[in-house]
């Protein structure tokens, strides 16, 4: 058994005061009191005292402790942290426990200064972060509301314009006028896509959707998305005299389901095709294809344009800016949307110059789990592809062979 002096020294070193509860709020010290006890006006001269009168917090805890002792439960009752202030204004963090020891009702009060400052720092950092997060979310919400207002105001006149063009399409017009109506109709559709692109790129809906790797992520058929985009852009390519081709691909028994929701993957393909169209010369070819590799599916859009400027980095290409590839661009929004969308699903996106000339934009998405389905994907009939190249010039026409395994 250790001597009383070692026992006292140990408790003093640990900042622990031990008391026996005598009943009716009275406590008797079981060892010499550590220095901090003077903050509660407790001295070693006292044989017993009422701690509750010294500290309102302890008075409160003693009521809880009495219930614990009366219950004869094992373990201990803990007070949680509290702070006492001594006469000099120094704050002392304390913690109390009540338990049974050798048949005695024991109250242990410990000075936790040693660990309290670390705990304080941890909580301070955590709560500062929570506040920052709250402020950020509030800003995003405000911007989202503003964005929706702007989008609404921009879209309204456009909807009227489109309605007018749609009405005119059904009229008997002179060939020149019909052509102008078609151009007006197409350009208003393009404008609508651009406005929707702004909304999709910045909407808080996008910020709030499941992050990469989460089970809730939707899945889509990558080839179907590619085909829809090719069909959508076929007229614009044809008008510029550029061939848009959906290349033959290696079929796979596991299909082409990738993580990501179909409408947004359609938009990604669309943005890449729009980008390629902007930089492709007349008579050149833009090819869309896909590959499977190590649990991921990769889509490519290859063009025969001037290629990427030497000084442009991947970061610059997909950043939100007005600087573009080779020559000034109207906006970096399209590629920025592609980047945030693909990365949101745990994918990657990039671009490089092709050895044969032109540029290659690609994105890679994780392969979706086999059973995953996507309610949001359009329920069009499965696209049929022939064994050779599929040209967008023929989009919509019946294709000769069904794609096996799908």
């Amino acid at each position: 058994m250790p001597s009383q002096s070692i026992y006292n020294a140990f408790l003093a070193h640990e900042g622990v005061a031990l008391f026996e509860f005598l009943g009716s709020g009275a406590l008797k010290p079981l060892a010499a009191l550590p220095e901090w006890c003077s903050s509660l006006s407790l001295t070693n001269r006292d044989k017993s005292f009422r701690l509750g009168e010294k500290s309102p917090f302890l008075e409160n805890f003693l009521a809880e402790a009495e219930e614990f002792w009366a219950s004869k439960a094992s373990g201990s009752a803990n007070s949680g942290n509290w702070i006492e202030t001594d006469s000099s204004g120094t704050q002392i963090p304390l913690e109390a426990s009540a338990f049974w020891l050798a048949g005695k009702r024991v109250l242990l009060v410990r000075n936790i200064s040693g660990t309290f400052s670390d705990q304080q720092k941890l909580f301070q950092t955590a709560r500062d972060s929570l506040l920052t997060h709250e402020r950020l979310m509030s800003e995003i919400q405000k911007k989202d509301i503003l964005l929706h207002c702007i989008i609404h105001d921009l879209s309204q006149p456009l909807t009227s314009m489109r309605g007018c063009f749609d009405l005119l399409v059904g009229k008997k017009l002179a060939p020149d006028a019909a052509k102008f109506v078609q151009i007006g109709r197409r350009e208003s559709q393009r404008q609508e896509r651009m406005i929707r692109g702004i909304l999709e790129a910045f909407s808080a809906d996008l910020v709030g959707e499941p992050a990469a790797g989460q089970a809730e992520a939707a899945s889509c058929d990558l080839i179907s998305c590619a085909q829809r985009a090719v069909e959508q852009f076929a007229p614009a390519y044809a008008e510029r005299g550029i061939h848009l081709v959906l290349a033959p691909y290696m079929d796979t028994e596991r299909g082409w389901r990738a993580v990501g929701d179909a409408p947004r993957v359609d938009r990604v393909f669309g943005n890449l095709l729009e980008n390629a169209l902007r930089f492709s010369p007349n008579g050149s070819t833009v090819t869309v294809r896909a590959e499977e590799s190590k649990g991921a599916l990769t889509a490519f859009v290859d063009d025969e344009g001037p290629g990427l400027p030497k000084e442009s980095s991947q970061k610059d290409l997909f950043a939100l800016s007005s600087k573009g590839r080779g020559r000034p661009r109207k906006s970096g929004l399209g590629l920025y949307f592609c980047k945030i969308t693909i990365e949101r699903w745990g994918g990657t996106i990039g671009a490089q110059n092709r050895p044969a000339g032109g540029s290659r934009f690609w994105f890679r998405l994780p392969r979706a789990a086999q059973e995953a389905g996507d309610a949001s994907e359009e329920h069009t009939s499965s696209p049929n592809f022939g064994p050779g190249s599929v040209s967008a010039d023929h989009a919509g026409s019946k294709r000769p062979n069904s794609r096996p395994g799908r």
């Binding site: 409160n60 949680g80 704050q91 909580f123 929570l130």
Partner: protein, 167 residues
């Protein structure tokens, strides 16, 4: 002298500690110092023509890291439920906390404190909800621990309500 236990309740960073410091020590610190656990202060006030010692329990704010122990409220005579109106969630959290307190402790005098009234232009809370509470007889006081506005009124007002409720 009569002593009354008053608790400061509300989410983290709504200004509970700052209100106590302003009231007891006439000090305000712009920097946010989070409270862990409980700190007890005392101040004598005159209410209903008698002197009362308010024993002020500044209890840590609730968040994902810490929840408040209901045992802290034992013996409480009244409480100030503090909201930061620049953060609308703090009103929701406060009202939810108030429901828990009412369930656990019964009807006890309380005042809803809309703190940070020096930042009134940044308030986000739905003031119609506050009006509904006020119309139902709930005392609501706007305070600023920074400027001191409404602080004395809040504590002394609660002391009065506590004495009135006891009589």
């Amino acid at each position: 002298m009569l002593q009354k236990k008053i608790c400061m309740l509300g989410s983290f960073s709504v200004g509970k500690t700052s209100l106590v410091r302003r009231f007891v020590e006439s000090i305000f610190d712009e920097k946010y110092h989070t409270t862990i656990g409980v700190k007890v202060d005392k101040k004598v006030v005159r209410a209903e023509s008698e002197e009362v010692t308010l024993v002020l329990w500044d209890i840590h704010g609730e968040d994902v890291f810490q929840t408040m122990r209901m045992t802290y409220l034992r013996g409480m005579s009244g409480y100030l439920l503090v909201v930061d109106p620049t953060r609308k969630q703090t009103l929701e959290d406060a009202l939810s906390l108030q429901a828990r307190v009412r369930e656990g402790m019964g009807q006890i005098p309380w005042i809803l404190i809309l703190n940070k009234c020096d930042l009134a232009s940044e308030w986000e809370i739905d003031l119609d909800r506050i009006k509904i509470l006020q119309n139902g007889g709930q005392p609501v006081i706007r305070t600023s621990a920074k400027t001191g506005e409404g602080v004395e009124e809040a504590f002394v007002g609660l002391a009065r309500a506590v004495l009135h409720s006891a009589s």
